[in-house]
Amino acid sequence: MTTHAFAPLTFAVPLIVAALLRAAPTAIPRRVADVAAVVAAAVSALLATALAWASTEAPIVHWVGGWRPQGGSVVGIPLVADPLASGLIALAGVLTAAVLIFSWRYYRTVGTLYHTLTLVFLGGFAGFVMAADLFTMFVFLELMSIAAYALTGFKIEADVPLTGALNFAVTNTIGAVLFLVGGTMIYARAGTPNIAEAGQRLAGAGTDELVVVAFALIMTGLFVKAALLPFHFWHADSHAVAPTPICVLFGCVLIEVGIFAAARVHVGVFAEVLGADTGALQAVLLTVGLVTGAVTAVMCVLQSHLKRLLAFSSIAHVGIVTAGWGLLTSAGLAGAAVYVAGHGFVKAALFLLVGILLHHLDSVDEAQLHGRARGSPAAGGLFVAGGLALAGMPPFGMFTGKALIDSAGKDAGVAWLGTAVLAIAAVTGAAVVRAGLRIYAGVGAPAPRDPDRPDESEDYVDHAPARTPRTMIVTAAVLMIAGAATGAPQLVTAAEHAAGLFVDADVQAAAVLGGDQAGTPSVDRTSAWSADSVIEGMLAAAVALGLGIVTARRAGAPGAWGTESASPYSPVRWLRLMHSGRITDYVVWLCIGCAVLVSTSLLALR
């Protein structure tokens, strides 16, 4: 068996174990099911890592069913494993394993359905990332989403707004439909659903309204998944409902995969046919990314519900990732990739720390938790370190990722990009630092309880060990260390190389359709670790720390950030009103966003 056969196993293994576990609850002891699920996720991660390792020179292609192209035309569905795709699956696999380990003491009452759905999510995710075919992407997008919707609504007995799960499911289904409509239009024009082949044929036929509108629809669909403004509402709402471990998967890989898929479809299908003017598209993507980042960074600061705070922070960071990709250069994409890796581990650790708080103190509300976790200095230290890492402190992956995006921005003539990214990251970091200081150190005045805010409790926790189960805190610490390791210079080099492969449509097409690879892609090398970048990173961390301390001291006092402003014209009030939690409003926002993307694309790209 050669390495290419690993590609289908990354999703087939979790799926088959999921199916077997489904009927298992009575047949096998509970602990066996726990271990089997973790092993399945870990195997998927290992296979993906091996693929990433083996595909550094050229993408590895596996033809499902053995249907290689016949007579120069595609027949089957190719799974394309390159280091970026495989790396993303490896990240998801590791985090899924961590989530399942963390959940060992959770959720006894529902047998193995929780395991089953978590593994189906991973399987759908891996299939979605691997498949270089528009139709297959749609099916696996839906598969992954169904598992995610169900996991969101998992805590039907807890006092949480279940509408969050519904909002998630409805908006994302519309997104998937729009993706399929766009994909079908491409199929009608190019005569093939294969990404590489469609790209070549479109490039030959030239652009018109059809191609441009299909592009806008596909991007709308994927941006809904990526939770970019104004499609982001579902993300924070889902966090108010979903079990804390599941939030790890949502915040760290689910929304990021939207950007990955957007990049893959853009490079494969649209880059050449829309290529005449990358400036316009670059401007659109930078705007979308940075506006998303700025608005949700503010929302992040306004939250006192910890899971929602982290959710808005995730969206802000996806905004940064979008901006990195939006430069449409390999250097920008490399920065985005490193950023995703660093963010994934750190954010996962933060969510698990919140899970521990919930486990002990039955609350995820910053105001209610004020000073109540003084007894856990280790957890508090990890929490604040996580905040600083989000701000871009060395040596975490977000530091190197940001440095790469910064220098890529300068090369692409967007010199201010680094500053904008720094500001967004510092603000989201400050919010986490503030919450950490208030909860674990009791900084500032305790806030009066808001009677409208119900307590949340994780009803399925086995009640209730006095000490934190070691699996929980150790998992969080290990993830934080992994987050620091993603800043290693070797990973930067590898990501630059991988991004060079990824954005070169010729390399991708050669791997899928055969033919000669036109030389090795040029790779820009930046040294992410320079004196300047380290100083900048420390500066960002210092800003986050300072802001965090100031806001922590002032929080709870009247008129502080985050308290309801009296003025009807206050922008903060408008922002809050926008996040109404009503699905009918979100449907309208989705339509507005889609209309903006369609009309801008028609004006700028045609």
């Binding site: 139709f135 749609f138 099916v139 839906e142 598969l143 989403s145 169904i146 919707y149 169900a150 609504g153 039907i156 006092d159 707004p161 279940l162 509408t163 969050g164 799960a165 519904l166 909002n167 499911a169 409805v170 289904t173 519309i174 439909v177 399929l180 409509v181 079908t184 199929y187 009608a188 659903p193 709402d237 108010a240 929302m299 306004l302 939250q303 519900h305 929602r308 805010r453 922002l575 809050r576 996040h579 109404s580 939690g581 009503r582 699905i583 009918t584 449907v587 309208v588 339509c591």
Partner: protein
């Protein structure tokens, strides 16, 4: 005229998509909203089959027509079947969620349901 008539399936598909969307935005009942989502979803079935249709083709099933007769595109048909199944699965899940929302919050009027604000 011919171009317009040839595009009629696509136009109807686009109409169904917009109609479903409109119904969702104006809905006052989550069961209604979910059904409208299903209408929006069904526009893709029509679009897919429209794209694969050829008047001179037969159904791509050669049990009682001779092999070699031109057929219509089987790929979009297979995907339409898949799409219908996936749509049904999503719908079943959504309706289950609606029942739970009603149990918890006592209403399924989306205007009356508020999540956590801000």
């Amino acid at each position: 005229m011919t171009a317009v008539a040839g595009a009629l399936p696509y136009v109807v598909a686009a109409f169904l998509l917009c109609a479903g969307w409109y119904g969702m935005a104006t809905s006052r009942n989550l069961l209604h909203l979910v059904t409208c989502l299903s209408v929006l979803h069904s526009s893709t079935y029509l679009l897919l089959l429209g794209v694969g249709y050829r008047a001179e083709g037969t159904a791509p099933i050669y049990d009682d027509v001779p092999v070699g007769t031109p057929g219509v595109d089987p790929v979009v048909q297979a995907l339409a079947v898949t799409d219908i199944v996936v749509g049904a699965a999503v719908l079943a899940l959504l309706l289950a969620l609606v029942m739970q929302v009603h149990k918890r919050h006592g209403t399924i009027d989306p205007q009356a349901l508020r999540g956590m604000d801000g």
